[in-house]
Symmetry: C2
Subunit: 231 residues, 2 copies
């Protein structure tokens, strides 16, 4: 099964000469776009891949086509990484694992750029993370370690948007001089938020129930409505 083996590989996990030129260009693009954003010129990608600019267009039609190919590839890598983590059953959140694993640094950087610029991949990625969070939280609720929520999906979305958004903002405000250091930067970010997050999640923050009760009295509707509007 050489083709399956090849498709499963992660960026830079295999000598460049073993990849098709198309794949090499795509990988170079993921790296460039991850580092500099989608404003990076096609010529730069071509140079990184050691080919001409014309060839890039020949293979992907347009720059947008190249980005689409990158999106698809990144999504696939992430999907496999998730599955792998599920099988090996490593603890900790998926996001943290992704940020920590050096080998996923390019993919991770690319995802961050996608979230920064918006687009289909970003939506997909967030939506999947919300789905996962719903599952994890449900498991926790079933196990009794996590308190049930009045609107499980809204809570999951809140947590995902907050965590993801905070991380994104953190790197945007403090861009790493060395792009390779992105994982280290994210790790530092996680360290910085670990205490307040744990504290808040276990003890809460408000000493009275007044605000919550007021809200519940004011909005007696089925809470699912709020989630619908958020989409």
């Amino acid at each position: 099964m050489r083709s399956a083996e090849r498709a499963g590989r992660v960026l830079a996990d295999v000598p460049a000469e073993d990849l098709t030129t198309r794949a090499r260009i795509r990988d170079a693009a993921v790296l460039r776009f991850g580092r500099e954003g989608f404003g990076a010129p096609v010529r730069a990608v071509a140079a990184d891949a050691g080919v001409s600019a014309g060839l890039v267009i020949h293979h992907f039609g347009t720059k947008e086509g190249l980005r689409a190919a990158c999106d698809a590839h990144v999504l696939e890598v992430v999907r496999r990484a998730k599955h792998e983590q599920l099988v090996t059953g490593g603890g900790g959140s998926f996001l943290q694992a992704l940020a920590t694993a050096e080998r996923f640094a390019p993919v991770f950087a690319y995802v961050l750029r996608s979230l920064q610029h918006g687009g289909p991949l970003a939506r997909d990625f967030v939506e999947h993370m919300v789905d996962d969070a719903v599952e994890y939280l449900a498991d926790g609720v079933a196990a009794g370690t996590i308190r049930p929520s009045r609107d499980e999906r809204a809570r999951a979305r809140f947590l995902v948007l907050g965590t993801l958004g905070a991380g994104l903002l953190s790197v945007t405000l403090d861009p790493p001089a060395d792009p390779a250091d992105l994982t280290g930067l994210m790790r530092r970010h996680f360290d910085a938020v670990a205490l307040p997050a744990l504290e808040l999640y276990t003890e809460g923050m408000l000493t009275t129930r007044r605000m919550l009760d007021d809200y519940l009295a004011y909005v007696p509707d089925p809470p699912a409505a709020a989630d619908e509007d958020a989409r």
Copy 2:
């Protein structure tokens, strides 16, 4: 005090013909950049302001100079708005007020773009918001409505980054077709997160103290160290 009166004005709060050309160009740039990001061409700004592209450069030197002028102006407007809110003493968070007030929509959009792209204004803005949050939380702690934290500044930063990041991500993923509808979109976002936020802030989420206690046992250092690293 005509000059002070003039300087205090907010965008679109005054007929265009009363402003200097320089100010008109700057306001047009804030609007354009807020709507389309900093990739928007100088020509577009010039057209919006009803002047030639050359004149824009004549006044601001370079496009970067134009952006710097926008940054300074937005920061000033925000500073005044904060002060105004402090004086009138309106309840609710400053961010929410800013997002809600229609008159600040252009400034708000510009701030979001800044956060998306990074840069000095974004850092400044976040840092000021953290400072404010520290103050508000301290007031709450003093009043007994808010639980004290093991690291007040880390908690404030966590809340600001999360709230701001979630809002930013929300609009990035779901860009408003009509740019004028940005405030409505943010309002919907706040509505969607209101319940989970209140729930989490009052009741927490974890049923056991294990994770927090484990963390505290594992990291016995003064918690301020984490904050230092986060910068």
